[in-house]
Symmetry: C2
Subunit: 244 residues, 2 copies
Amino acid sequence: MTARDPIDIWRRPERSGVGPKPQHSRGQIAAAAIDIADRDGLAAVSVRRVARDMGTGPASLYRYLRSHDELIELMVDTVSGEYDLGPSGETPRDQLLALARQGRSIMHRHPWLAALLLTRPSMGPSTLRYLESALTAMESIDLPGPSKLQTVAMLTALTSAFVQNELSQPGNSGAANGAASDRVEYLSEAVRSGNYPRLASAFSGGNEPETPDDMFNGIIVGYLAGVGLRQLPQETPGAGEIQA
Amino acid sequence: MTARDPIDIWRRPERSGVGPKPQHSRGQIAAAAIDIADRDGLAAVSVRRVARDMGTGPASLYRYLRSHDELIELMVDTVSGEYDLGPSGETPRDQLLALARQGRSIMHRHPWLAALLLTRPSMGPSTLRYLESALTAMESIDLPGPSKLQTVAMLTALTSAFVQNELSQPGNSGAANGAASDRVEYLSEAVRSGNYPRLASAFSGGNEPETPDDMFNGIIVGYLAGVGLRQLPQETPGAGEIQA
DNA sequence: TATTGATTGCGAACAGTGTTCGCAATCAAG
DNA sequence: CTTGATTGCGAACACTGTTCGCAATCAATA
C-alpha cells in the first residue's frame, strides 16, 4: 500500500532554521490526534481528520510527518511520556510492579494504546526513558543485559494484553465495542452445545470473582517471580513464597 | 469508518439450502486470503485482491462475509486450526509448554497472526477447541475457572508478543520490514548520547546469547512457574526449582 | 410442469483513505 | 535585495470497504 515505513522520525530535527516559521508542531499534531483517538477511537485518526481539527489541509501535515505511520508513532511516544518515572518502591519487584500499574492506568486513559504497543516496535525518546527507568529498577538483579530487556518487554506486553482483555469485555462501551455482546452470545451457544465441557465449567466455576486490580497484580507478580524476582532483591529463585 | 463489526459470522450458517449453488466458500476465501497475507503481508489482504485472486469481483465476497473484519476473523480461525491438539506431555506444565511452542511455530508460518491475536478477541470454533484443549491440560490444577482462562489468555499473549519481537528484529525481511535498520540506527545514536547508561550496558552486556528457542522456553516456563505450575502437578507453589 | 421466492454473481458507483505534485507565500542568510 | 530553502495547501491519483440493483439460478410449492 504505502511506499516505505522508515519511522526515522526521531532522527529528523523538527525544525531546520531556514524558511517561514511553522504554524504547527509535532506536539500540536500529536495532541490533536490523541484527542481524536481518545474520543472516537484509533480508526478515526485519519490525516484528513487531524488536519481538519487543526483547521488546516491534509497536505500541510506532511511538512511535519512523512506518513500516517509516523503520526501513530508520535501518538504512542507522546502518551508514553505520561509515566511518572523515578523511584517508587524498595525492591526491584515493587518498582517494576508500580511501573506496570502506571502503564495500565495510562492504557485505560488511552484505550487505543495497548493494541499499538503490542503490534509495533515503538522506539521514541519517551519510550527509551521508560526503558531506562525499568532497567534502573533492575540494576541490583544479577541477570544478563538481554534477559533484562526481554523481561521488560514481556512485562509491558503482559500489561498491554491484560488491558486489551479488559477493554474487550462487555460493559466497555469504548469507541468500537458492541462486538462484545455478539461474542458472549456465540460463546454461550458453544457452551450450551456440550462440545466444550471444560470451557463450560471454567466459566461457571467462578464464585467470588477477584477484582481486576487483584488479577492484574497477581499476574505481574507471578511473572516477575517466575523470572526470579521475589520480594527481596538478589534472593535465590525458588526459595520465596508467592504472594498475590 | 465502517458501520458495525458484529463478528457474528460464526452464528450464521454458511449455506441456507435455497437458491443457486454457491461457487465459492468461506474456506476457499480464507485460504486465498491467508495465501496473500503469507506472501505479501496482512496489509495486502484487501477485498479486491482476494476477489481478484479467486477470479471474481469484490462484491461477490459479500455473499459470504459481511465485512472485511469478518474476513480477518476467518483467517485467524483457519490457521488456529493448525494446532495439533491431543495429549503432548505428562504434566500440565509440559502440555501447556508444548501448546505454546506449537503456537509459536504457527505464528512463524503466518507472520501476520501474532499481531491479530494480540489485538482482537477472536472466538471461532478452532480457537474454542484450542482453549478447551488448554483447559484440559490444566484439569488437575486446583485453580478457579476464571483464573485458568486468564492463564491461557496470558500464555498466548506472551507467546504472540515474543514472536512479534522476533519478527521485528533486524534480519527478518518479512513482508513489511526495513524499519528495523532505522530503529537500530536511532537506538545506537541514543546509546551513544550517554543519556541512557543502563540501556547501553544492557545491550553490550550480553556474551554468549541464548538461542531464541531457549529464551522462549525460559519465558513460558517462568510464567507458568509464577502461576504455580511447576514440574509436578498439584505441587505447592514456592517449593520447586525453576528449570529453564 | 409452471411458478414462486429466496439466494447468488457481480458491474457500477459512493464515500473515504494515504500520499504526491505544484505553486504561492514566507523568512534567514549572503 | 536577491537568493534559496522551507512552509501552506488546493487539487488530483490510486487505493480502500461497502452498497445497490439487476440478471441468473435453483428448491419447494401449486
